[in-house]
């Protein structure tokens, strides 16, 4: 609930005008609907009374019938405007939400980033964001507009009919709908959350089955895994039924309220009319308004159905939303000087020591290979040097302590090619310009040649050749080399490469490594390596 509010506040802060426009029109549509039905009921009954009294000729038909037409057409027009404006507001809210997620995630630690990019995690994240998309359109607008319409109807009924009718109608809807909202609002989140968990379990077990099918078959666990999928689905089914039941209860209460409140309103009105305190036509207004208010209450059901899921999603998404932070990129003029560390200690996630009192220095123009068994800490060391992993000890870049570097200055001076690099979908040129937006075509071709990709890109139609999501359309080795070319385009003074030639055959690896050195003759290059070609290309080798 708290997170839901904070997400709402964030959307409200960034898209205030759009939200107000949508909210006001939602209210206008409701009020016009209520007025239309109330007026028509009054008009017919009053006309009948005048007709019975033989005073039909003196009855002013034109103003009411013109009002009926105006409200009918006006409501249709307002409805159109409402749909457009609320959808515009929703789309803006979608933007805010997604941008917030992106900003927040970009500030995460690398190990959390690695978790986020897994297919399952991404799936869950988008499911959560989708659930929150309805926050404004299905929860906030209808409930807010419905409540206001109810209050205005109360005032209108008091003024036009009688306080007793107004109290019955407005009080009836309030005392019926508010406890319903409160009760189901408390009841729904738990089964919603549990159903979401069961659905995720179902999904992840099914993916596990498909990904590990051979292993499961060999070790005789395929049927067990199949059974565990069905078990998760059975749990999901039970919770779905529970939620469906609550949804039906909400629907039944709302329809019953409509019958009781409009019937009761009619009875009170007729009673007052018989006593001569109001006319029969005024009594009809109370009935028709109570009936029309059902439209204001109807979205409550839909809102309640989604509410639990939204609370659950907000709990996961809310804390990670990043606020808008405009980082100014500043050029840095540091003396050329490579990278070094002294007395460096790295911890494992479990708490044990991975590296203790480690020293290393890579000078400008030098390529150093870092070797060691997998799990020895090569990747973690590179991340620490890139300022993305906490380390104890002294790291100096161009002679300045790492802590003294601002993020933009550091990224300008130092670049790292991570072990699993990813491309964005788009063209080759767009991917490369991510590294340097003002790069000229000549510079782009130069780094492509250095990465032995010139021929490949030319064969595919040049720099505008498209790359699909997750580097679809490129082989693993080509994607790797493109990521490498992208890193080279930044022309860093310090380049950290994590297994740069993974997926390349031996001769290509050697040529690519030569290309890197030629492209950046002045840079200090540190390579975490497990291949002979990489070790052979280095000036020095340091074993962890």
């Amino acid at each position: 609930m708290r997170h839901l509010f904070s997400i709402l506040r964030q959307i409200l802060r960034m898209q205030r005008a759009a939200l107000w426009r949508g909210a006001i029109l939602s209210l206008v549509v409701l009020l016009m609907g209520v007025s239309l039905l109330g007026l028509s009921g009054w008009f017919i009954t009053a006309a009948a009374a005048a007709g019975l009294a033989g005073m039909g000729a003196g009855f002013d038909v034109f103003r009411p019938s013109a009002m009926v037409r105006l409200l009918a057409l006006g409501r249709t027009a307002a409805r159109y405007g409402e749909r457009l404006l609320t959808h515009d507001a929703v789309l803006r809210a979608l933007e805010v939400l997604r941008l917030g997620v992106l900003r927040g995630m970009l500030q995460l630690a690398p190990e959390r980033m690695a978790q986020v990019r897994g297919a399952q995690a991404l799936n869950r994240l988008t499911a959560d964001i989708d659930a929150l998309d309805g926050l404004v359109l299905r929860l906030v607008f209808p409930l807010g507009a419905g409540l206001l319409a109810l209050l205005i109807s109360f005032a209108g009924l008091w003024w036009l009919v009688d306080l007793r009718v107004a109290l019955w109608v407005a009080g009836g809807w309030l005392s019926g709908a508010v406890p319903l909202l409160w009760y189901l609002g408390r009841k729904m989140p738990t089964p919603s959350r549990r159903m979401e968990a069961a659905t995720q379990a179902l999904r992840s077990r099914f993916v596990d089955l498909m990904q590990n099918r051979d292993d499961l078959a060999v070790y005789g666990l395929l049927q067990d895994q199949h059974a565990s999928i069905l078990q998760a689905d059975a749990r999901r089914h039970a919770l779905r039924c529970e939620l469906d039941r609550a949804d039906r209860q909400a629907g039944a209460v709302l329809v019953a309220l409509t019958a009781i409140i409009s019937g009761g309103g009619l009875w009170i009105g007729l009673d007052l009319a018989a006593a001569g305190m109001i006319t029969a036509a005024q009594a009809a207004i109370g009935f028709f308004v109570a009936l029309a208010l059902a439209e204001a209450a109807a979205p409550i059901r839909r809102a309640l159905a989604d509410y639990g899921r939204m609370v659950d999603a907000a709990r996961r998404i809310g804390p990670g939303l990043g606020a808008g932070s405009a980082v100014q990129s500043a050029a840095v003029s540091a003396a050329a000087g490579g990278i070094s560390c002294d007395g460096l200690s790295l911890r494992r996630p479990a708490g044990g020591m991975m590296l203790r009192d480690f020293c290393l220095a890579v000078n400008a123009g030098e390529m150093v290979a870092l070797t060691g068994a997998s799990g020895a800490g090569k990747t973690t060391l590179l991340l620490a040097l890139a300022g993305l992993h906490h380390a104890e000890g002294d790291i100096r870049i161009a002679g300045r302590s790492l802590e003294d570097w601002s993020e933009p200055a550091l990224r300008n001076y130092l670049t790292m090619l991570p072990q699993r690099s990813e491309l964005l979908s788009g063209t080759v040129l767009e991917n490369l310009r991510l590294a340097r937006p003002d790069a000229t075509e000549a510079e782009v071709w130069a780094v492509l040649e250095a990465a032995q990709l010139g021929a490949v890109v030319r064969a595919r139609g040049g720099l505008d050749c498209k790359i699909g999501p997750r580097a679809a359309g490129l082989s693993g080795g080509e994607a790797r080399r493109l990521a490498l070319a992208r890193a080279l385009l930044r022309r860093p003074q310090v380049l950290l490469l994590d297994e740069p030639t993974e997926g390349l055959d031996g001769p290509t690896a050697t040529v690519v490594l030569t290309g890197i050195r030629k492209a950046l003759p002045e840079a200090a290059i540190l390579v975490a390596s497990h291949r002979r070609a990489e070790i052979a290309a280095a000036d020095r080798v340091i074993a962890l």
Binding site: D215, Q225, A373, L423
Partner: protein, 541 residues
């Protein structure tokens, strides 16, 4: 209507329930005209100065009856939706469990079976009852209107032939609405997912701000294009509402003028009574309501159509079935020997004949695509040969015995994958054995200790990650866990650094030294040289 066929097919298992629920939904809607009549009579009586409390009470009681019927219809619809969705889901899971080939995108199949199928629910619960109501309710109201006044009936009748026009408009709106959904949510999510997958790269390239600004600009652009589509899409449903509004307004004006005595026509001789007037007014919106409900639910049908299409694609994907059923059974008796005779892989590759004796260590070598992996899969009974036969433990391997044969194998796949369960579960996979000994034999003790919660660490995406080399050692530990007398290993040292490769090789050879038969498929000639025998693949015919 050809488009609706696959959808109708999906409903086949619940067809009787759908008919019942449609009937209940229609019955519920038909209560309204009765309620309207009671209110009309009560207001008519009030004009005569009487309070007809009984009529009002009847209105409320019937309203509660409507509550019961609509709740019943909702329940039947929700239950039918669950039956349909679970039925299809279970069919997908069962079929995928026994597919023999490795598939490239389990994510797509999982989304279909889990999230996308759920899109059938609104179609079943909203669209189906709405289309039943639209066939009956307007017709009944038309008859009632004619009974009261032929002019009132005529107002409905004139808008009656407009209904097909409405439907066409609604259809157009639906097309745009589904296009809208595709544009709107899909693209924005794709954009986001694309960037989230590359978070670390973006950060390291110092492109965080540029990427967020670019995303914001693209999202804004997408919003503008979506709104352009929506302005049109909403127009069609607005036209529908406009016709309904005009119909209701015409009815109100006709009734009003008739009651004032200013219109002398439209009734069957006698003038329109006040009660009849109120009755007609109350009926008018309900005449158009089913159509509007159907229009609102049309979007659900479009979504269901998309699911049905994708389901048809999934069904069209052919594939081999995994032999056996992958359950745990008693191991097959007999010596751990394997013979291949005249075998052909699923890709049509001929494999050389071979005979591997108990306790032998053999390397299968050959260029990529020469059938090394397929040979191992045939030996493990994960595929059956299209021709020739595989002989294991002295008998020809057939589908009924593969489970028993597989129960003897230590298996090291080329690509390590784990269940999203604890490391211990992933090692043992339900078998008896010694985890510490297996980890030690695979030189993986340190790896396990380094994990946040040791053997209890949850693997998979959400848990502790293992590097490639660590994962490889874990699959070795898993293969050695139950001390098998046959080990099949596919590229056990590919992409490993020398130290790890040595450790893995030593682990395999140590198990061989205990008397196990060892068969590896490899590119690594150093590793192959340490086996008893090398079998060359890829130069047969």
């Amino acid at each position: 209507m050809a488009k609706s066929d696959p959808l109708r097919l999906l409903l086949a298992p619940v067809a009787p329930a759908m008919r019942r629920l449609s009937a209940v939904a229609v019955l519920g809607s038909l209560i309204w005209p009765v309620q309207a009549a009671l209110v009309a009579l009560a207001i008519g009586a009030a004009l005569q100065g009487q309070v007809a409390g009984g009529l009002v009470a009847g209105f409320v009681v019937l309203g509660l009856g409507r509550v019961a019927l609509s709740a019943l219809a909702d329940r039947m619809a929700q239950e039918a939706a669950e039956v349909v969705i679970t039925g299809i889901r279970h069919r997908i899971v069962a079929q995928e469990a026994l597919r023999a080939q490795r598939d490239t995108g389990p994510g797509a199949t999982a989304s279909l079976a889990v999230e996308k199928l759920a899109a059938l629910s609104p179609w079943i619960t909203r669209y189906a009852p709405a289309s039943a109501r639209v066939a009956v309710v307007p017709l009944v109201i038309l008859v009632l209107a004619f009974w009261q006044s032929w002019a009132a009936g005529l107002i409905f009748l004139i808008s009656g032939p407009l209904i097909p026009l409405f439907m066409a408009l609604v259809g157009m709106a639906a097309k745009e609405a589904s296009a809208r959904q595709m544009v709107e949510i899909g693209s924005l999510n794709d954009l986001l997912v694309d960037r989230l997958a590359a978070l670390l790269d973006i950060r390291l390239l110092g492109a965080s701000e540029a990427v967020t600004q670019g995303f914001s600009a693209q999202a804004g652009d997408l919003r503008q294009r979506t709104m352009a589509v929506l302005r049109l899409a909403f127009l069609s449903s607005t036209v529908l509402e406009l016709f309904a509004a005009i119909g209701v307004a015409m009815m109100a004006v006709f009734v009003g003028f008739s009651l004032l005595g200013q219109l002398g026509f439209g009734t069957w001789g006698v003038p329109l009574t006040p009660a009849a007037g109120v009755f007609l007014l109350l009926l008018a919106p309900e005449f158009y309501q089913p159509l509007r409900d159907l229009a609102a639910a049309w979007h659900d049908k479009a979504a269901a159509d998309a699911v049905a299409d994708e389901l048809a694609d999934w069904q069209a994907r052919e594939g081999l079935t995994l032999p056996g059923n992958g359950a745990r059974v008693d191991p097959l008796a007999g010596p751990a020997t394997i013979g291949l005779r005249g075998c052909v892989t699923a890709h049509g590759l001929h494999l050389p004949d071979m005979k591997i004796a108990k306790g032998e260590a053999v390397a299968l070598v050959g260029p990529s695509g020469s059938g090394k992996t397929s040979a191992l899969r045939l030996m493990a009974g994960l595929e059956l040969s299209a021709a020739g036969n595989v002989e294991v433990a002295g008998q020809v391997l057939t589908a009924p015995m593969v489970d028993g044969w597989r129960a003897r194998i230590g298996w090291m796949p080329q690509r390590a994958a784990f269940l999203a369960r604890s490391l211990h579960f992933n090692l043992a996979l339900g078998r008896n054995g010694d985890a510490d000994a297996a980890l030690k034999a695979a030189a993986a003790q340190q790896v396990a200790e380094a994990l946040p919660r040791g053997l209890a660490t949850r693997l998979g995406e959400s848990g502790g990650g293992l590097s490639g080399g660590e994962a490889r050692r874990m699959t070795l530990a898993r293969a050695l866990f139950s001390n098998p007398d046959l080990i099949l290993a596919d590229e056990p040292t590919a992409d490993l650094d020398d130290t790890t490769a040595q450790a893995v090789t030593a682990g395999l050879l140590a198990q061989h030294a205990k008397g196990s038969t060892l068969i590896i498929a490899t590119h690594d000639m150093d590793l192959a040289a340490r086996m008893d025998r090398i079998i060359q693949l890829g130069n047969t015919r």
